[in-house]
């Protein structure tokens, strides 16, 4: 059971005549605000660094240089080296790839499935809606990380099994929000108008309802992404997700943890800070998108 506090009804109408089409950047800024744009910029830098890791990373992330193990920041290793003498900066860049791609896949899968279920439930109503809502309620009854653990228990520890488990766990969160929004749209006159014009249910759902709930779908997806990053990193930290020697931020905190006990917190700090930064950026953007999507209603 959730209690939603409805914002005061606001109808924001765009100016009727716009002489100049606003560019992508300007539109983005309007939706995100100052802090949101800053967060988006930081996230963009992290994503770019992660994507270009094969080119930009100064070292092979898996190359151990035992002579340089647990070194502090130097000119050669800007963030120092880990217990095996691997360059922390390079491992951060490679690790961010996994830490971003895994949750990205989780959200992609759960958003597609969740939105589809929600649209079907909202359009068909009646018994179909009852059954879908019932299934979602049961999925809600299990905490998200438990799905990941069940999946790992069955198919063994790996990134993909965790992604599969979490994707199921995030379906009800997407579906519940989208179903509510789609139900509101379904009862608006334009849907009846399209129905009278002879459009099919599938057609109306795709061409009329989906575009209108799309801001909410995206806002929900971005907001969930932050939680997915945390969940996936946590499972990797437990040793049940990404397996070493693959660089992953959760795993780096784990391997850095042993160095912390020996008085070298460098690896754990840098990986931990990067996780926090990623989640913070994603959450801020998600919050902004959510409030914009609400006010556009």
């Amino acid at each position: 059971m959730t209690l939603s506090i409805k914002p005061p009804v606001k109808t924001v109408k765009r100016a009727a005549v716009e002489l100049r089409q606003p560019g992508v950047l300007q539109k983005g800024y309007e939706r995100l605000g100052l802090v949101g744009t800053a967060a988006a910029a930081v996230l963009l830098v992290i994503v770019l660094a992660a994507v270009s890791a094969p080119v930009l990373a100064p070292y092979d992330p898996d190359f151990p240089d035992l002579l340089a193990a647990l070194g502090g920041p130097t000119a050669e290793h800007p963030l120092g080296t880990d217990a095996l003498g691997r360059d922390i900066l390079s491992r951060l860049m490679w690790g961010a790839r996994v830490t971003l791609a895994g949750p990205g896949l989780v959200i992609l899968l759960s958003t597609v499935v969740g939105t589809a279920l929600a649209l079907v439930a909202a359009w068909c109503g009646g018994r179909v809606d009852t059954v879908i809502s019932w299934v979602l309620d049961i999925l809600f009854a299990v905490p998200g990380i438990v799905f990941a653990l069940i999946s790992v228990a069955i198919w063994g520890p790996s990134l993909l099994t965790v992604v599969a488990g979490l994707a199921v766990a995030y379906v009800p969160y997407v579906a519940r929000v989208v179903r509510g929004a789609a139900l509101r749209e379904r009862n608006l006159p334009y849907v009846s108008a399209a129905w009278l014009q002879g459009q099919s249910g599938v057609g109306i759902t795709f061409t009329q309802i989906l575009p209108n709930v799309q801001p909410i779908v995206i806002a929900q997806a971005v907001s969930s992404l932050g939680f997915a990053v945390i969940d996936l990193a946590s499972v990797s930290f437990l040793g049940l997700g990404v397996q070493p020697p693959t660089a992953d931020l959760g795993l780096m905190v784990k391997s850095g943890f042993d160095s912390v006990l020996r008085g070298h917190p460098g690896e754990a700090i840098s990986a931990g800070v990067l996780i926090i930064l990623i989640v913070w950026c994603v959450t801020v953007i998600g919050d902004r998108l959510t409030s914009t999507a609400r006010s556009m209603r």
Partner: protein, 314 residues
């Protein structure tokens, strides 16, 4: 009232039945013969295989095994651990207390810090609000294991104020051992609760009955306590309840950071060792706890706010 409780209980049992079926069914699907886990990699003589198959009823049809398992669980028999060669209920009874203590201590911390800071942010100067909101945003973005590692590194290794692992020897010693884990488990939820509290208090403060109380000259403290906070309790309880429920799952991670011997670390070890009886039982207990806490919260609403009728969906 009676019919509501009955319906609620029925729904609860239904959810538990379905989850138990899913947990059992999925484990049944797991690749690899369970015989291999019992007899080890080299297998056994045909007699041993037959004996183990008979002991664990591996030959029975799926539904027979499911209902036998369910029947055993209802009677308090959670199965037999293949790895520990011990009853699962014995394994769990020693550890459930640690998890329960960790979750309760965290819940107290979350309630105090979340409501406290949230109210401060709403009522004090804009400067306090900015600081609390920024801290809450960072807290929300921080995974519990990162907080845990940071706490161990600063307070355990660096300053040496707190022990870094284990549960201690009971009583006050255990409390000291559990403080850092509880903080690690609380940070994100406390941040979230502070946010919700701030929003709720701000909304209540604008209400007419609060204005009336102010105009009548009631003391500021009385207004906040009796008129603002009391009414803000509904969203706060919702979040608090959901939070305690998620703490049960969050404890899995924190227990592993601080090497606490609770249900969570038992679960992770059992998963790695493919000790399915333990995995099924612990997951089922976690889900039961999660569902029951949520049901209790739903029930608490009606006590906090008598306007909410039992069973109404608002």
């Amino acid at each position: 009232m009676g019919s509501y409780l009955l319906r609620r209980l029925g729904g609860l049992l239904l959810v538990l039945l379905v989850t138990s079926f899913i947990v059992f069914g999925l484990m049944y699907l797991a690749p690899g013969s369970p015989l291999a886990f019992v007899l080890g990699p080299r297998g056994g003589t045909p007699e041993q295989v037959a004996a183990v198959t008979a002991q664990y009823h591996f030959d029975d049809p799926f539904f027979v095994r499911y209902f036998r398992w369910l029947g055993d669980i209802v009677q308090g028999d959670l199965g037999h651990s293949i790895v520990y060669r011990q009853d699962v209920s014995a394994l769990m009874s020693g550890r459930i207390g640690t998890t329960a203590a960790l979750v309760s201590l965290s819940a107290v911390l979350i309630a105090v810090a979340g409501v406290g800071f949230g109210t401060l942010a709403a009522l004090k100067s804009r400067w306090v609000d900015t600081v609390v909101s920024t801290l809450a945003a960072i807290g929300l973005s921080t995974p519990s294991f990162v907080v845990g590692v940071a706490l161990i590194s600063v307070f355990g290794v660096g300053l040496g104020w707190f022990p870094t692992f284990g549960v201690g020897s009971g009583g006050f010693d255990t409390l000291v051992h559990l403080i850092l884990p509880a903080i690690a488990l609380s940070v994100a939820s406390a941040a979230y609760l502070a946010r919700i509290t701030k929003a709720a208090v701000n909304e209540e403060r604008g209400r007419e009955h609060v204005q009336t109380a102010t105009v009548r000259g009631l003391a500021a403290g009385v207004i906040v306590r009796r008129h603002v906070l009391r009414n803000a309790l509904i969203p706060i309880t919702t979040v608090m309840g959901l939070t305690v429920a998620t703490l049960i799952a969050g404890a899995v991670v924190v227990e592993n950071v601080f090497a606490l011997d609770g249900l969570g670390s038992l679960l992770v070890r059992a998963i790695l060792q493919r000790d399915f009886a333990v995995v099924q039982a612990v997951i089922l207990v976690l889900v039961v706890a999660f569902v029951v806490v949520n049901a209790i919260v739903d029930f608490l609403y009606t006590i906090i706010d008598p306007r909410i009728a039992l069973g109404s969906r608002q």
